[in-house]
C-alpha cells in the first residue's frame, strides 16, 4: 500500500507506504503497524530499484558535516589548539555560528600561535565531530589564514617578500596562510 506518491509533500508522522512495498530510508521511520511514515516536512522520493523510500526536507536543518570546508574566525589561541567560530560552510553563511576547534598537526612543533592569531579568518576542513564537538584541520594544502590581524595592534597583516607585516605598526608575524591570502573578493564570496 502506498499512501503518498513520489514528489508529494508530507509532514512529520504522515504515512508514506507499508514496509512490504518500500523500505524506510532517510527521514522516515517504521512504525509498529508496518507503516513507513515521514519524520520531516519534505518531499517523498521513491527509489524503485532499491525498493527504498526517503523524504527530502524542504528546509533542511543547518548542519556542519565531516568533510565540509568552512570559513572561521579565530576567537582564542591556546598552546596546541585554537577555538574558532564557523561563519560559513562551503560559501553558505551559517545563521547560527558554531564553535569548533583547530586540532594540532600530528607532529606539530611549537605552539598554535605560530600558525593562527585571534581575529584571523581561516579556511579549514571538518575532520571529526564527536558528541557535537567539531574538530578542524588547517594542515593541508589550500587551508590556513586568508586574512590576519596583528597580535599586538589589531592592524591588517599584509603579505610581503619578508613575510606578513602589520600595515599599522610594522610588526612581523608568522601564520599558516592560503596562497590567495589577502584576496578580498575571494574572501567576500566565502563570507556569503
Amino acid at each position: 500500500m502506498v499512501f503518498a506518491q513520489d514528489g508529494e509533500i508530507v509532514s512529520p508522522g504522515q504515512p508514506i507506504c507499508v514496509e512490504e512495498e518500500f523500505l524506510p530510508g532517510e527521514n522516515t521511520k517504521l512504525h509498529g503497524d508496518g507503516v513507513v511514515a515521514s519524520i520531516t516536512y519534505g518531499r517523498v522520493r521513491y527509489d524503485r530499484r532499491a525498493r527504498k523510500v526517503k523524504v527530502e526536507p524542504l528546509k533542511p536543518v543547518e548542519e556542519v558535516r565531516v568533510g565540509d570546508t568552512v570559513l572561521a574566525e579565530v576567537k582564542e589561541v591556546q598552546d596546541k589548539i585554537a577555538v574558532v567560530e564557523i561563519i560559513s560552510v562551503d560559501g553558505r553563511p551559517l545563521k547560527h555560528p558554531r564553535t569548533a576547534f583547530i586540532l594540532p598537526a600530528p607532529r606539530m612543533r611549537g605552539t598554535m600561535d605560530e600558525y593562527v592569531g585571534v581575529g584571523d579568518l581561516v579556511v579549514a576542513v571538518v575532520i571529526n565531530i564527536f558528541a557535537g564537538v567539531i574538530g578542524l584541520t588547517i594542515w593541508r594544502q589550500g587551508l590556513g589564514a586568508i586574512y590576519s590581524l596583528c597580535d599586538s595592534c589589531g592592524g591588517l597583516l599584509k603579505r610581503t617578500q619578508k613575510g606578513l607585516v602589520c600595515t599599522r605598526c610594522g610588526k612581523r608575524e608568522k601564520r599558516k596562510i592560503v596562497h590567495y591570502y589577502g584576496n578580498m573578493a575571494r574572501l567576500a564570496s566565502m563570507v556569503g
Binding site: 512529520p12 508522522g13 511514515a37 520531516t40 524542504l58 528546509k59 536543518v61 543547518e62 557535537g132
Partner: protein, 240 residues
C-alpha cells in the same frame, strides 16, 4: 458579574457553536522571517504566534548536553492579550505552561540528532480567548516542522470543557471562566499517544472518558488542518 446562560435549551453555545464544534481555525506557516520556522494560529479570537530557533549552540555553554539537544520553550502573553492588562514579564502561570508545552514537544522531537545544541521555541499569545496552551502547542508543532526539525509526529491539541453539565469541544474564555471543568489535551495521533493532559475542575469517570473521545475527534480535524497548512505553504512558494 452574574453567570450568563452559556448553553441554550437546544444545545447551542454562547458563540453559536454546537457542543462538539470547533471555533473557526486559521493556520499559516512561515510567517516570521528571522526564525528558522514559524506559524500563526487562530482558534476564534485566540491568536498565537510560534517561532523556532535552532538547532544552535547552547548559551551558557555548560548547559549543553553531549548526547542530545536541549529543548527550551517560552510561553508568553502580551500585556493586552487579556481583559485586564497583564503585567510585563513572566507570571507563574506562564512558567508552568512553558514547562508542559516543552515536555509535550520533547516527546516527539528527535533530540539525539543534535548533540550539544539547543532548539528554542517561543510561543507568543497576542490575544487570549481560551485554549491558549493548546493553540500554542498546535502552532509550535507547525513551527518545528517548518524549521525542518525531525519529529516522530505532529502534535495537535484542543481543550474540552464542562459547561452547565455539558461537555463542549474547544472552550472559549467565557466557557472556561464559568464552566465546571477545563481539560486541555494534546496528542500525537500517529503515535496514538497523549503528550499533554491537564484538568482544572471536576469530571466523573464517565465524563472523563467522553471528554477524551470528544478531544480526540477535534484533534484529528486539527491534525488534518496542520498538514494542509504545511502543504499550502509550499504550494504558495512554488507559485510565487
Amino acid at each position: 458579574m452574574e453567570k450568563p446562560k452559556l448553553i441554550s435549551e437546544d444545545g447551542v453555545r454562547v458563540d453559536g457553536r454546537r457542543l462538539d464544534e470547533l471555533r473557526p481555525i486559521k493556520m499559516e506557516v512561515g510567517v516570521l522571517d528571522k526564525s528558522d520556522g514559524s506559524a500563526y494560529v487562530e482558534f476564534g479570537k485566540t491568536k498565537v504566534f510560534a517561532a523556532v530557533f535552532g538547532p544552535r549552540e547552547v548559551h551558557p555553554k555548560h548547559l549543553a548536553l553531549p548526547e542530545r539537544a536541549i529543548l527550551n520553550c517560552r510561553y508568553h502573553m502580551t500585556s493586552f492579550s487579556v481583559e485586564d492588562r497583564k503585567p510585563l514579564g513572566m507570571t507563574r502561570r506562564e512558567v508552568e505552561l512553558s514547562k508542559v508545552i516543552r515536555e509535550a514537544l520533547e516527546s516527539i522531537v528527535f533530540l539525539e540528532e543534535f548533540p550539544r545544541t539547543s532548539i528554542d521555541i517561543y510561543v507568543e499569545v497576542i490575544q487570549a480567548d481560551g485554549g491558549t496552551r493548546t493553540t500554542g502547542l498546535t502552532a509550535a508543532s507547525l513551527a518545528l516542522a517548518d524549521a525542518g526539525i525531525p519529529m516522530a509526529d505532529m502534535i495537535a491539541a484542543v481543550a474540552v470543557g464542562k459547561v452547565e453539565g455539558h461537555l463542549v469541544l474547544d472552550v472559549c474564555d467565557i466557557e472556561d471562566k464559568y464552566g465546571e471543568a477545563d481539560l486541555p489535551v494534546a496528542m500525537a495521533p500517529r503515535l496514538n499517544s497523549i503528550v499533554l493532559l491537564q484538568l482544572n475542575g471536576r469530571l466523573s469517570r464517565e465524563e472523563f472518558q467522553k471528554a477524551m473521545a470528544l478531544a480526540r475527534e477535534g484533534i484529528s480535524k486539527i491534525y488534518q488542518m496542520q498538514r494542509e497548512a504545511l502543504k499550502r505553504k509550499y504550494s504558495s512558494v512554488e507559485e510565487g
